[in-house]
């Protein structure tokens, strides 16, 4: 039994109030969003839990084409949101819909999913692919980090005590842009073995800009830059798509995963990248089985 030193649970109603408690070193306080991580692995050296659920950070707003999501918004609210479904070919909606089960999605918050990424976490992959920006507030300032900066290290490790992720902003999605996300799991709501998110901008069949992100291979999502490079500025063709997907599977960095071999994951990466590119660059109708 852990949490033996827990003295208090507070429910601040303002972000400033939460930060004041979290940044007070004497409190030994920890922020709690959905709280799943703490139920699984209760920490030992915590005196105060700061529940974030009463903060005014549960929202989804569309502003000038960008989507602003408050960090305490449950994943289930992304699934039921028409704004999320209609943004970026529904890529965030599709990602959210496949995070855990309905019961889990009612508890998991957007902020928690970003700050404590595990190898199977989903939102981080799509946030990086879409070039999202993450807002972090502490006692003295509000910072805005690109997803690239935010996921350069495990956020829970570099965020100082008293720093709170308050919002994630997804940029406006261009009219000529396309996006898709594929996740491979053994059962419907199992943790992903591998997932791929691709966002590209096209003029006709010419790929003007592209971001390929693979999650589930390492704890943090990774850009597959060499594969992006051979597609950028080129006219899409099956040969090019095959070449890019081969390159992606070679370029992929992997950590050991008890559930599958390195060879299996590389093969999966190749198949998923190829399938998504066939769909959003070559406009082919790709049957679901072809993506697995």
């Amino acid at each position: 039994m852990k949490l033996t030193e827990l003295q208090r649970v507070s429910y601040p109603e303002t972000v400033a109030g939460a930060i004041a408690i979290l940044s007070d070193e004497k409190c030994r306080a920890v922020a709690v969003g959905g709280g799943i991580t703490f139920a699984f692995t209760p920490p030992n050296n915590v005196e105060e839990m700061v529940c974030l659920r009463r903060l005014p950070l549960n929202y989804i707003k569309k502003q000038g084409g960008a989507i602003h999501i408050g960090s305490t918004t449950p994943i289930a609210d992304l699934v039921s949101s028409g704004v999320i479904k209609g943004y970026a070919d529904g890529i965030i909606w599709e990602t959210a819909r496949r995070i855990g089960s309905t019961l889990n999605r009612n508890l998991i918050t957007v902020g928690g999913n970003l700050v404590q990424p595990f190898i199977w976490s989903d939102l981080s992959t799509v946030a990086l692919a879409l070039g999202a920006r993450i807002i972090i507030q502490d006692k003295s300032k509000i910072r805005e980090l690109s997803a690239e900066e935010f996921f350069s290290l495990v956020p829970a490790k570099f965020l100082k005590p008293g720093s709170l992720v308050t919002e994630i902003i997804f940029p406006p999605f261009a009219k000529n842009a396309r996006a898709a996300y594929e996740k491979f799991t053994l059962t419907e709501f199992d943790y992903a073995i591998l997932k791929v998110a691709i966002v590209l901008a096209r003029t006709g069949k010419v790929c003007r800009e592209i971001t390929i992100v693979v999650g589930g291979a390492t704890v943090l999502p990774q850009r597959i830059r060499e594969a992006e490079e051979i597609l950028r500025g080129k006219t899409g063709s099956q040969i090019l798509v095959n070449e890019a997907s081969e390159l992606a599977s070679e370029e992929l960095k992997l950590v050991r995963d008890i559930r599958s071999s390195e060879k299996y994951k590389r093969d999966l990466c190749r198949v998923q990248v190829r399938g998504i590119l066939e769909k959003i660059l070559l406009d082919q109708k790709v049957p679901e089985w072809k993506l697995f």
């Binding site: 949490l3 649970v9 703490f38 699984f40 209760p42 289930a76 089960s101 019961l103 889990n104 009612n106």
Partner: protein, 170 residues
């Protein structure tokens, strides 16, 4: 530590331990319809409604449930006067060992409270976190469809209309 929460419409002031889960607390208080299954949010037998949403009570620390409104299946009906979902589960043969049934019924209730005409896919999605190892899912989905038809009929007529399990979908 003391927390105050509402369980089945009754305010309760209880002492909880730091690492005690909501599931442990509810069972300690005698709500044995909330079952312990996997203990890691995968099976759904510990489902309760928290502020109207179905959640895994094994994934919630009791200390963080202060001020929450909790509903267990005990609040839905009695043997003498069962809830529409409970009669539908019995009539369609959706209950065998019964271990998953409280969670299934609460997940289905949350769905029908917000959508009285769910499609089969919507039912499957709403129940995706509740596992059954006895009946298979066909009868369970039929039970929710039957309950949905009965709830719609009740709303339409303003009183309970008898709809058998063989009545075609309205």
């Amino acid at each position: 530590m003391e927390i105050v929460l509402t369980i089945n419409e009754k305010e309760s002031r209880v002492e909880v331990l730091g690492a005690e889960t909501l599931l442990d607390l509810l069972r300690r208080l005698g709500y044995k319809s909330v079952k312990f299954g996997c203990g890691e949010g995968a099976c759904g037998v510990c489902t309760v409604l928290m502020d109207g949403r179905p959640v895994n009570s094994c994934l919630i620390l009791a200390v963080t449930a202060d001020g929450r409104d909790i509903i267990t299946v005990d609040d839905l009906g009695t043997i003498q006067k069962p809830h529409i979902l409970q009669t539908s589960f019995v009539e369609t043969g959706a209950v065998q060992c019964g271990f998953c049934t409280p969670g299934m019924i609460l997940a289905a209730k949350a769905l029908l409270d917000r959508n009285a005409s769910p499609s089969e896919d919507e039912i499957k999605e709403a129940l995706d976190g509740n596992l059954c190892r006895c009946t298979g899912y066909v009868q369970i989905i039929e039970a929710v469809q039957l309950a949905a038809r009965r709830i719609r009929a009740k709303k339409k007529t303003g009183k309970k209309k008898v709809i058998s399990k063989n009545t075609k979908k309205a």
